[in-house]
């Protein structure tokens, strides 16, 4: 039966892959921007023109996804160093360099965001106005997100962080729903608040460190005064917690989710908020492990409040998109729980949870958009019995809902279990509360599913179409990944584990 022993060894099961060029990450980061600038040259007068622009955008995102898959395929244990390390001189007088690299923590995130952007661009076929601007901004956003995940220099990190903020604001403000301007302003306001906290933290770090450098890896070993590190910890923490979004700094998120155009909302929930959790793991946990332990109880409190508060608020919510937003927020609370425990198993689960939630939230949001397109409503009270007319949508939604509630065989299950197993030895009562909250999540997801799809069909929906082939392509694609990660998590977890171990062993 040895043939069944897959993935037991720590090395990827594919043998030796030839060394990949170090430009790979730069490609993943900059291809969208280059294509976006290229898009400006194309006309948008006729439908054919717009179709061409969309094809080009899809091509660019496919290329990025292909590069990201290549990155995953060639990823090897680097013994604590970063894979695809690319270090170029950028502002030498400042101590800032163009330094990109991925480890087991950022690699899955880059892969996730590349896939989500591809799905989002595929799902953007309903955008009819200002097509060129739309795709320009989405591609710019992709550069920002992937750049933030893969940069190893604080200045570069900050630059990319800003780069995801602006395009998303415009996407929301121009192509959004009824209350788009409010949502866009709020997003910008919170985003700027968060990023200015980060900027202050980065500058303080820069000026207090003995070596004036922005390099994350050299700063990690720097000795800093105790008072300053606490300040830095909290500055970084609050900056990232806004993005996470953690209670009580979350109020931008649900509005943004409800009002953004569906593909942008999918990317926002799937990849952009993950930046906050990624920052917490990379910077707060990697840079200040002792302080994370010291303030663990506070973080735990924030995590539990976020988990339960979001679920409770979601139960009575009527807007489908807002319910999905609350579910994502609750999952990010689980990631925060993993951070508060700072235990290897929990962090493994946290990273996996980000990937799982990214995939399921994107699926649910895109399906919610498909329902909205057909029924003209996002209110759950007005939906019902749609399984009769939309069996495919019902099946895909069921899978995604089950994944969101952590049902086994799907990605959320392993992630949740790892988080709970890892955080229990550190925070016993807190973990048990989070375990109990899974019942609430199950209730929310099942109730929502039942109210949308089951029961007698509502009047007026007798002629609703089922999902088309394009919609099925991205919905089934996302769900297939959810199932794959559920039955064979080792595809990512082995790599994540190496990154987590080196992150946690290096500090303290």
């Amino acid at each position: 039966m040895r043939i069944f022993m897959l993935g037991v060894q720590n090395q990827p099961a594919f043998g030796n892959v030839p060394e990949l060029p170090t430009l790979l990450l730069s490609g993943i980061v900059w291809v969208p921007t280059i294509v976006a600038i290229g898009l400006l040259l194309f006309p948008t007068r006729t439908e054919v023109h717009r179709e061409r622009i969309r094809s080009i955008a899809i091509g660019a995102c496919s290329l990025v996804t292909a590069l990201a898959v290549l990155m995953w395929y060639g990823f090897k244990d680097q013994g604590g160093t970063f894979a695809y390390d690319e270090n170029r001189s950028w502002l030498p007088s400042l101590g800032a360099s163009y330094h990109l690299g991925v480890d087991g923590i950022s690699m899955p995130m880059v892969l996730l965001s590349s896939i989500l952007f591809l799905m989002a661009v595929l799902a953007s076929s309903r955008i009819r106005e200002r097509v060129k601007e739309y795709f320009f901004l989405i591609l710019l956003l992709e550069t920002g997100v992937n750049g933030t995940f893969s940069s190893l220099d604080f200045l570069l990190f900050f630059l990319f962080w800003q780069m995801q903020l602006i395009p998303l604001t415009f996407l929301m403000g121009i192509w959004g729903g009824a209350r788009k301007l409010l949502a866009a302003w709020k997003y910008l306001f919170f985003g700027l608040a968060g990023s200015s906290l980060l900027l202050i933290a980065i500058l303080i770090l820069y000026y207090t460190a003995p070596a004036h450098t922005f390099d994350m890896l050299s700063l990690r070993d720097a000795k800093l005064p105790v008072g300053i590190t606490s300040l830095l910890f909290w500055l970084f923490f609050s900056g990232f917690a806004i993005q996470l979004p953690a209670f009580p700094l979350h109020s931008w998120f649900v509005d943004a989710q409800a009002e953004a155009p569906a593909p942008a909302a999918a990317v926002l929930a799937g990849a952009v908020v993950k930046l906050g959790a990624y920052g917490l793991i990379r910077v707060n946990l990697g840079q200040f492990p002792d302080l994370t332990n010291k303030y663990g109880n506070f973080i735990l409190g924030a995590a539990l409040v976020t988990i339960i508060y979001s679920l409770v608020a979601a139960l009575r919510e009527d807007d489908l998109r807002r319910i999905i937003a609350y579910a994502t927020q609750s999952h990010m609370g689980l990631v925060l729980l993993a951070v508060s425990a700072a235990a290897p198993i929990a962090i493994n689960g946290g990273v996996l949870m980000m990937v799982a939630d990214g995939l399921t939230a994107a699926t649910l949001l895109l399906l919610a958009a498909a329902l909205y397109e057909r029924t003209g409503t996002r209110s759950i009270r007005e939906l019902g019995g749609l399984a009769a007319r939309m069996p495919r949508a019902a099946v895909v939604w069921t899978m995604a809902a089950l994944a969101a509630m952590g049902a086994p065989g799907l990605a959320g299950f392993v992630a949740q279990l790892l988080i709970f197993l890892g955080s229990y030895p550190v925070h016993r009562r807190g973990t048990l509360i989070a375990v109990a909250a899974t019942v609430l999540m199950a209730g929310l997801m099942l109730w929502t599913l039942q109210r949308i799809f089951f029961g007698p069909i509502r009047e007026g929906y007798g002629r609703v179409r089922d999902l088309g082939s394009l919609e099925m392509t991205y919905a089934v694609g996302l769900v297939a990944l959810v199932v794959l990660l559920g039955v064979f998590p080792a595809a990512l977890v082995d790599n994540i584990n190496l990154g987590v171990l080196s992150l946690l062993s290096r500090g303290g």
């Binding site: 403000g173 004036h212 065989g409």
Partner: protein, 658 residues
Amino acid sequence: MPLAVLLAAARGAPKGPLDSWSPTMLEGFALFLPLIALIVILGFTIESRRLSAWVSILFTFGSLVLSLIVLAIEIAHPLRLERNETFLQFFTGQSGVAAEFRLEWGVVADPLAAVWLCTVVGISLLIQIYSLSYLRREEGLVRFFCAVAFSTFAAMGLTVSTNYFEFLLFWGLLGISSYLLIAHLWRDPLAAAAARKTLLVTGIGDAALIAGIIYIFFRFHDFRFSTLATSYTGGKVGANGLLIMALLIFAAAAARAAQFPLHVWLPDAVEAPAPAAALICSVTMAVSGVYLVARAFPLFAASPRALMVMAVVGGFTAVVAALSALAEGSLKRLLAYATISELGLVMLALGAGAYTAGAFHLFTHAFTTALLFLGAGSILLMLRTDRLEEMGGLWRRMGLTGWTMLIGALASAGIVPLSGFWSKEAILSRMLQQNNSLAVAVVVAVTFLSALYLSRMMFLVFGGETARRRRFDPDKIREPGGRMGLSMFLLAVLSAGAGIYGIPGLKNGFLAFMTYPKQPVERALSTTPVLIVIGAGVAGLLLGWILFRRRLATRLPIISPVARIFANGFYLDRGYTLAVERGLLPLSAAVGWVDRRLIDGFFDSLGASVASATRPRPFLANLRFGQLALAIFAGLLLLGLIAVAVSTPGVPKVAGLP
């Protein structure tokens, strides 16, 4: 062929091929056949109803053959070793507290797994053959077979799990598949609500199971059943720790096995089509809870107080559920209460330490329950009603159903020599050995009550005349026959005969085969328990004959209040609902208000004051693209300029940097 091997093994014949075949490998293949069937149906035959159904049936049959061979190997093997094999390792890592942390997937071949695997697959096969006719005219036949194949896969995986992680995985899959089965008639709001209720009530148990597993892992750093079994008694964890673990695991088991106070889901869940209800009550969802207790039995054995709790809960549930069955007015719900009562009896037996007898009763109960539900299904198909008052006079019209259900009822009531008798006798004799008079009383009462409510069911359904209803012609009632009749006939044979496997003193019989601890207990048939069981059963039948023969009483007014209280879960059911409706949902609305008005409102007003201070035009909406690009570009440029400005002299440079 497998039957021949089985017989040879039972005789203790020379073990030719059996030693060279790996039972774990066979189990692995058996396990994956239903999954492959599911994939084949979804991928290739989804358009054809008949083909899909037959794919599922054939693959399940193959699975049954392999499972029987595994059982034969287990029986033939003189030592009955437990064989664990790990097939797939999900994850290996540092746990921070233990040296190594592994999530793995494998199969175990031991007597419990082998016997239960055969039962699950066999009953699933018969139910599928039955469903082919039963759902012939219904929509969603393919969906139903997919759900049944999925459910079978999950129940088999649960059976052969080697560790808690794997168990949890299949446990959840089983929950999902049962959800799909119960929600099969999803247009019916009752079915949809029953499915949700099932998943939520058992979800409480799932959370307890996760908590229990986390706690076990936290104390023992291990997931595997086989290694954990020896470490419970090692003194590493004190009695209180073991009690907490055992109670958490028991909470999960009780939720699944529909034990008080988490029993409220099962009577609703039989809203599912009759074959699905049969599957859920006999081998999959409800029974998985008891199987969990049997699998984790070393843990319970190490904690006498947990066993005590289990026995009390089981005994209480068994008696009160039997009373409820006596007063129930709907056929399928009556059978659901009967299931709860029998599972309570198994819990009582396991709680009193009678591992073998409990497992044996679980085994015989599977056949009788499946049979009774299938019989109820064929009655429902003809009468189109589930109310006992509207039935009657079917004995002449539905001969085969009548006879098979009679066998099922008698077997379940514990009438000699049918299967229920032997398992109830086994339980009772252990109770007598222990001089546990309360437990003896409970077993006797449950035996008596089961004979009473089953005779009530039989007289109400088959005796007297068929009630006339609007748009219903009793003369059109006929025996469904065909495949449905075949399944019911085979199940009747199994219900009648399965007990023989557990007759005391039988060489390689159930009692000598499936034991805990691993030494077989020799036991001869003694007269006292035999007489008591026969007496209780016959007394119940007699009383039933007196009370219900002339349909004098359809419901017992004395029992109704008790039954009503229990049906409402001692109003816990209503309590849960009230807690959700009056507590959680208003709380949710309040939190939603706080979220929108207070938290969001605070930031909104903050934003509004900033906005009014800077007086922005609504320029976002009117912005043309060129301006937009310019804005982004300007922002980036500004950042670059800041970077350059900061980097010019004045900022201290550090030697050693490039």
